[in-house]
């Protein structure tokens, strides 16, 4: 089935565009079709054929599907450059979206969504509405994706027209492919929105798990990837999810397998039964190994992911190291990753075999790979104490081969081994010294010099060796010069004889007078001063015992690792970087950047942003609200520099803000005082990740502010969305900007009591049960010395207003004991016992909660409530 389309690429001598124009308007169908093909061919090779817009669009009304597709393709490419003419196509689109043939209906919505012209977008809404409810699943699945397209162009429109709801309805569609595409679209929309739009509930969960069994392989990937955001409510649910996902490990599609592994690993966090966990690990190993029989590109992705997985759960592949041995024909990028994993899996049990492999690799031809293999031997030596000696003997064998770069690499790693096991393997120094004159790379040279200096007392001819390096001192790179300097000082301190004395004079002279490298000069002066004032002190400093180094092959810290594991199979896991590091969060980022840049250029105050940041950063106040004086130059968009600008530059703008809870909803109560001489508008706000996952639930609505005016806004907030890992703290970092001024940054505190829910009231019995069921080490208490309870009833009422609910009270001696409960989302309860004597300062607060980490924040909140 071979076509002959290449003929369309050929051109005639007569002006091409006029000729095409003529043909496009021909009365013969076939000629028109050929002409459109020629236009597309020209477009393909990058010629500008946008001037034919009207003529091509005229061909759009056709029964011929192929021709229609070509015209649509043309439209996608050129509509943006001819937005006014693009309107011409709308009628046909709308008509096509009602065609009896589902293929054409789908084609019409699909294409309309790709035309990123505002005017067209409005006309897209009605057809899209219809197509989302189409009888044919092929049309519905196309329409589902189209909602995401529209959201990308005009999010507001999508929300206003209720497309999000329609999309959510599609999750219950009876066709699995439609479900999968709806999930993909919703997940994308969620990614670009701060509000919760697509949250998987236990109800949707079961629908997704059912669709998983029936949709195409790509659809399965969408569903699995969206499930990775779902946090199971309890162990049972986690086990259930795992059970439903595990069969996917048998799928022939590697992406399905990797995404299934991701879900299982995530849910395993919740599962406590060691048997279940062990069993799951056993189940995951074979599919992971089989990924290494896939195409090399996929192997690469798999290996990058396995690298993460073995860091988290080393047991899974502990016995499979052999599958990571390199094959002769593996591409180099696969070999490099395999090597990395071999180091991670190397253990006392398999090290002999691993070393044999490394040795084999070290004699291959690819220089980078060989170097990495040599380095790998060194890293194993550092990691496995009992194998160190064997590693070193392999390194020595390699040095004897006398391949220049192998020798140099070996010396570099041997230096590390010496640092890891001081005073153990010095006997090999003699062998190392044999290769002295072949060293030409700075790092290798520096390593060798370090070794000589460090062990100067055991090397008889250390002075001669160093002297040979000294001849070329001025020409050496800084790295080597620094080492030479230090090594000479060490030698002198260890053997204060005449030879070294002269050497040190020469070196210090060289390193102070004849260099322009400040690091080197400073170090030389320090040594000089030390040596001339107190040689004993110099010994203490220069010959001090160095801390022992450790293996760095498990280098990712655990919170980053967890972050990456939640992103298995994605680019994030390939780069070993969190998505934020390489994805601009707002999808229209490139455009926005341009605008910002343009703004800055217009104002003519190019340095003002940094000033603003310095002036406003980071001041935090102890209370629950922050008052931030913001010093701003009057960055009015005046085309000419304002002569008064410098005088007026210290105007004060003030932002004060506070988190509050009203009617069960959390708001950021924020007010602005415009202390500048300009109208401020276009306010925007952004919150950094924080313990409670507090983020803006919508855009900040502040009207343009006249100079001297103030404004106040209640910004609805969402919580527990994008939680920052690490120990809980109440820090809330906020950035506010407007169109006139650079970004203001400030720190606020999150008062925990805003999260106390209306559902926090407990019955007496359940309170007692809960209190008893929690172990005693979950109980904490604290004195609020400054708090006074003047009336029990008033206190109860006051606390109830903040959703701390009264349960019971009793008298104990002269003190009153109050029992209360509160609850923050995610079902974390606080069982509270307040002890105080009425009217006497000092309230003792005891609390029991399953979540110990939150206790400190809880006390903070209670103390502020009792003030």
């Amino acid at each position: 089935m071979s076509g002959h389309d290449s003929k369309y690429f050929s051109t005639t001598k007569k002006g091409e565009i006029p000729e095409l124009k003529e043909e496009l308007n021909s009365q013969y169908k076939d000629k028109r079709k050929d002409a459109v093909k020629k236009v597309i061919a020209a477009m393909t090779v990058g010629k500008d054929v946008s001037s034919l817009f009207t003529d091509v669009v005229n061909c759009m009304q056709t029964e011929n599907l192929e021709l229609k597709k070509l015209v649509y393709l043309y439209l996608i490419n050129y509509a943006k450059s001819q937005p006014d003419l693009a309107i011409l196509a709308v009628n046909t689109f709308v008509k096509d979206s009602q065609d009896p043939n589902p293929l054409i209906r789908a084609l019409a919505v699909r294409t309309m969504g790709c035309i990123r012209v505002d005017k067209i977008t409005e006309y897209l809404c009605d057809p899209l509405q219809r197509c989302l409810k189409d009888d044919d699943p092929y049309v519905r699945k196309t329409a589902a994706i189209c909602v995401a397209k529209l959201y990308d162009i005009n999010a507001e429109l999508v929300e206003d027209r209720g497309f999000l709801e329609a999309l959510k309805d599609l999750i219950s569609d009876n066709n699995p492919m439609v479900v999968a595409n709806a999930v993909a679209a919703l997940a994308e929309i969620q990614d670009s929105s701060a509000r919760p739009i697509f949250e998987i509930t236990s109800h949707t969960l079961s629908k997704l798990l059912t669709a998983l069994n029936e949709c195409t392989e790509w659809g399965q990937v969408f569903i699995l990837d969206s499930l990775s955001k779902y946090k199971a409510a309890d162990v049972r649910e986690a086990e259930n999810i795992v059970e439903r996902v595990t069969p996917r490990l048998q799928h022939a599609n590697c992406a399905v397998v990797l995404s299934a592994v991701k879900i299982i690993l995530l849910q395993m966090e919740l599962i406590t039964s060691t048997d279940v966990v062990r069993n799951l690990c056993k189940k995951m190993a074979p599919p992971l190994v089989t990924l290494l029989s896939a195409e090399p590109e996929i192997q690469y992705v798999a290996l990058r992911n396995i690298n993460l997985i073995v860091q988290k759960r080393p047991t899974i592949l502990a016995h499979e190291i052999k599958v990571f041995f390199c094959k002769y024909n593996d591409p180099i990028y696969v070999k490099m990753e395999k090597l990395e994993i071999m180091i991670k899996l190397a253990s006392d049990r398999n090290i002999d075999q691993v070393l044999l492999e490394f040795k084999e690799y070290a004699t291959e031809v690819d220089v980078d790979f060989v170097r990495k293999a040599v380095r790998a031997i060194g890293r194993c030596a550092i990691k496995l104490e009992r194998a160190a000696e064997r590693c070193i003997s392999v390194l020595l064998e390699l040095i004897k081969i006398k391949v220049n770069y192998v020798v140099q690499e070996a010396i570099i790693v041997i230096k590390d081994i010496f640092r890891r096991y001081p005073n153990t393997y010095e006997s090999i120094i003699a062998t190392l010294c044999e290769s002295l004159d072949t060293l030409d790379e700075p790092e290798a040279k520096a390593s060798m010099i370090w070794i000589i200096g460090e062990y100067a007392e055991r090397i008889d001819n250390a002075d001669e060796l160093l002297e040979s390096f000294l001849e070329t001192f001025p020409e050496e790179p800084a790295l080597v010069q620094l080492q030479l300097l230090t090594a000479t000082v060490k030698l002198f301190l260890k053997k204060p004889t005449e030879g070294p004395q002269q050497m040190i004079q020469a070196v210090l002279n060289n390193a102070t007078v004849e260099t322009d490298n400040p690091d080197l000069r400073d170090r030389a002066y320090i040594y000089w001063r030390l040596l001339s004032t107190d040689p004993e002190a110099a010994k203490d400093v220069v010959l001090a015992e160095k801390p022992v180094i450790s293996d760095d092959s498990n280098q990712l810290d655990s919170s980053l690792l967890d972050d990456l594991l939640a992103n298995i199979s994605t680019l994030s896991s390939v780069y070993h970087k969190p998505p934020e590091a390489f994805v601009s969060r707002v999808k229209t980022a490139p455009r926005a950047d341009d605008e910002e840049f343009a703004d800055a250029a217009e104002t003519g105050y190019s340095e003002s942003p940094s000033q603003g940041v310095d002036g406003a950063s980071p001041s935090s106040s102890a209370g629950t609200s922050s008052h931030v004086p913001v010093m701003q130059p009057p960055a009015t968009p005046a085309p000419m520099p304002d002569l008064l600008g410098d005088l007026m530059g210290m105007d004060n703008s003030i932002i004060s803000a506070q988190l509050v809870r009203r009617d069960g909803q959390i708001f950021y109560d924020i007010s602005f005082d415009n202390g500048t001489q300009a109208v401020l508008d276009g306010f925007m706000i952004q919150f950094n990740k924080n313990t409670f996952g507090v983020a803006a639930g919508g855009p900040l609505q502040v009207p343009p502010m006249q100079p001297g005016a103030s404004a106040r806004s209640l910004l609805p907030m969402v919580a527990f969305q994008n939680i920052s890992p690490g120990a809980p703290n109440s820090l809330l970092q906020v950035a506010v900007k407007n169109n006139q001024q650079p970004v203001w940054y400030f720190n606020d505190k999150i008062p925990m009591h805003v999260f106390f829910g209306e559902d926090g009231k407990m019955e007496r019995t359940s309170f007692l049960e809960a209190w008893k069921s929690l172990p005693d080490d979950n109980e904490f208490s604290k004195e609020f010395a400054a708090s006074v309870i003047s009336s029990i009833d008033a206190t109860i009422e006051h606390l109830a207003a903040s959703n701390v609910f009264f349960i019971a009270k009793r008298k104990n001696a002269n003190k009153d004991v109050l029992y209360m409960s509160a609850k923050i989302p995610r079902g974390i309860p606080f069982l509270i016992e307040l002890t105080a004597a009425v009217g006497v300062p000092g309230v003792k607060c005891a609390v029991k909660t399953p979540n110990k980490e939150m206790v400190a924040l809880f006390f903070e909140a209670m103390e502020s409530l009792l003030k």
Partner: protein
């Protein structure tokens, strides 16, 4: 984590755009082209660069190469890398189905269909549909194009997305090939570093309607669950992967392999056996072949000492002695031994022994088959058409070497000896198809045909 690609490029060998499809309008073709050509220039060959690269402008490029064409995606999001790279391979498969071969020429010749396919296979940067056979029902090349407007086949959105309804055959037949590839890596000291077997059940179906198939294997887990005597007849498969037509949940539940097959050829399942297991099984099938009536002998071996007593035997063992006489000539003596039973025969055996790249004047003698110098592979290739079990053949060769060399000669590539062979009617694993039931509502009788073959996969023996 949602993530879609922004555009898909088909580039020529120099990295110039042949055809591209912009899915999201947020990357530029010019930039992509510039970035990629620079990458190619810098690296020399594409092999050396990882298939996922990030440029500073926030765009990730992922690519694969096929013949003289690069398939490249550009993305600004955190997309699913495994899924996208696999998708690119599927795109290649689809193009191959359409144009027989995917290369620069065939893309130019069919750019209209290429655009149509790119539109159908991916939407807004999300992979949609890659079943070549079904796609070709509604996207046709010129020769087959009909004026009547086509409709999307039901299969595109059906739960059974790989098979169309209304297929008819006069004679209903199924061919099942059990193909096992033996991968082995032997160290220069003769020690087996790793060996595994990758098996595939390759099916060709010519069946009418919507047939329900059920496949029975001598799978130990299944047989034990059914309470049948296993008597060493059953096998353990390490990792099984199924074509998407197989109901995975059902397999997970009761180990039944049930499916509605696609039309034509496909890989129904693949499996893998790792070293220790295949060790047992080599021996096992070895016995089975010789004395099939003496099954009871097998349990005798099933004690722990098995590992010590019986060493793994690669099916074909090759030893090479290479003697380099200073810089004048090199002498090779290669011994090949078949270590399986006499009643089996390996066919198309090909043994590739590396020789220095500047060798000349080959002088080769063999005791069986023929050997020749293949300078383009820097190797001597020895071919034996038929190699019965339990035999040993020899090959001697002598090459001249130039007496002078460049002073700083690059180190010689240390290529291993590589072996290719096929052994029909034989599997290493001992896998057996117990039955293949085909039920269709019209009630026709279908004939299943089963064949077994073992072949060399990556069969490498390192040289000292």
């Amino acid at each position: 984590m949602a993530g879609a690609v922004s555009a898909l490029f088909l580039l020529d060998i120099k990295g110039r755009v042949l055809v591209w499809r912009d899915y999201r309008g947020d990357v530029s073709a010019l930039q992509a082209e510039r970035f990629f050509t620079k990458l190619l220039d810098k690296e020399g060959d594409s092999e050396s660069h990882s298939p996922v690269v990030y440029d500073d402008a926030g765009v990730t490029y992922m690519f694969i190469q096929h013949n003289n064409v690069f398939l490249l995606t550009a993305s600004r999001q955190n997309c699913n890398a495994a899924s996208i790279l696999l998708f690119l391979h599927r795109v290649v498969d689809v193009f191959k189905h359409y144009f027989e071969e995917l290369e620069e020429e065939s893309l130019r010749d069919n750019f209209v269909v290429v655009y149509e396919l790119l539109d159908e296979m991916m939407d807004f940067g999300y992979p949609q549909y890659t079943e070549a056979k079904i796609l070709s029902e509604f996207i046709k090349t010129d020769a087959y194009r009909m004026e009547v407007s086509q409709r999307p086949p039901m299969a595109v959105t059906n739960a059974v997305s790989w098979r169309s309804e209304g297929i008819r055959y006069k004679k209903n037949e199924v061919f099942l090939d059990v193909v096992e590839s033996v991968n082995i890596l032997v160290n220069s000291n003769g020690q087996i570093v790793r060996s595994d077997v990758v098996g595939a059940l390759k099916m060709r179906t010519y069946l009418s309607g919507m047939p329900e198939c059920k496949l029975g294997l001598n799978d130990r887990v299944l047989l034990e669950a059914q309470g049948r005597a296993t008597k060493g007849k059953a096998i353990d498969l390490d990792d099984i992967k199924f074509h998407q037509c197989v109901r995975l949940a059902r397999f997970e539940n009761d180990r039944t392999i049930s499916f509605i097959p696609p039309d034509g050829s496909f890989d129904l399942m693949t499996y893998r056996l790792s070293t220790q297991v295949s060790l047992l099984l080599v021996i096992y099938s070895y016995w089975m072949l010789k004395i099939p009536e003496m099954h009871y002998l097998v349990p005798l071996f099933s004690c722990l000492s098995l590992f010590d007593v019986l060493k793994v035997k690669p099916l074909i063992w090759v030893e090479a002695q290479i003697e380099k006489h200073s810089r004048s000539r090199i002498e090779l003596m290669v011994k090949a031994r078949s270590q399986f039973k006499e009643r089996s025969t390996a066919t198309n055996v090909e043994i590739e022994v590396p020789v220095p790249s500047d060798s000349t004047n080959p002088n080769i003698r063999t005791s069986m088959g023929s050997a020749a110098y293949a300078p383009e592979r820097d190797a001597m290739v020895w071919k034996v058409k038929s190699f019965p079990g339990g035999k040993e053949y020899m090959c001697r060769a002598e090459f001249s070497l130039p007496s002078i060399t460049a002073e700083e000669a690059a180190p010689e590539k240390k290529a291993p000896i590589r072996v290719k062979f096929e052994i029909p009617y034989f599997t290493v694993s001992g896998i057996q198809v117990r039955y293949l039931k085909i039920i269709e509502k019209s009630g026709y009788q279908a004939l299943p045909w089963v064949r077994y073959i073992t072949m060399a996969g990556e069969y490498e023996l390192r040289l000292t």
